[in-house]
Symmetry: C2
Subunit: 157 residues, 2 copies
């Protein structure tokens, strides 16, 4: 389904739901970062998605990463909390306007091989120095930026 | 409305919703911790509640603390993430079964005086050494315990 991000946009529609979700910064032994190209808006992004009843948010991050990339991972820490009310997402298929409530975790790869999925047109290991070459929503670039800063404590936003 | 907590209980009903919420460990200059006695189940607890659309989770923690205690606070850090799928809460008024998705923040008091509310029968500053004397749900005692441990990185559960 198509997805439209609104960030600091006075014309954004009002949020109707708040959905907890996880994004995961998975790194491999070379220190490269796992990125997907989203099938819904063709931007590059960290893997991740919404939490299902019956799982923890850490389990959600592991499950979504494997579904979208083929990579199995183990969560190792927390980059930050992203709940900016001025970032909402319109899902055009049903008119839902979702406010972000995302946690961004760090993780290490423990198995699998990158492969695309229905939600990911492409999956790549990207060296940190090449992240800027990938088209990305500003809210996603901010999250990866916080990871690369190696913050002493999680971002709370 | 009445609230029943189920923790690691095989007879717990299945979760129907996941609601992001905040709890706040507010401390004063004496290092005492702000506790409320909940009006819905008469247990002692940290102030907190569910995030509303249009606010961040940090703003939610500040708002809920002031509503429930009269104390204004400033968020200073994160104790942990609590999304255990084996902890669900039944609201008897409407049959909702809510899975926890709570973040526990640290905060310092910046103003106000403790006073009860419709959600809090009593509000007190409690020295850390007296916390064990207060009747509390195990999931709440765990959160305060994690705060008192001064963990180097947030609990992810």
């Amino acid at each position: 389904m198509a997805r439209i991000d609104y960030l600091d946009d006075p014309s954004a529609p009002a949020a109707t739901t708040i959905v907890p979700s996880a994004n995961v910064v998975v790194t491999n032994d070379a220190g490269e970062i796992l990125l997907i190209r989203r099938s819904d808006n063709e931007n590059w992004a960290l893997p991740g998605g919404a939490m299902d009843p019956g799982e923890s948010l850490v389990q959600c991050g592991v499950r979504e990463t494997e579904e979208e990339t083929g990579i199995r991972c183990e969560i190792t820490g927390l980059v930050g909390v992203y709940t900016n009310p001025r970032h909402v997402i319109l899902y055009t298929s049903n008119g839902e306007v979702r406010q972000e409530c995302s946690l961004v975790f760090t993780a290490r790869m423990i198995g699998g091989e990158p492969r695309p999925s229905s939600e990911s047109l492409d999956v790549r290991w990207v060296p940190a120095g090449e992240i800027n070459d990938y088209q990305m929503h500003p809210s996603m670039r901010q999250r990866i930026g916080h990871f690369l800063e190696r913050r002493a404590s999680p971002y709370l936003g």
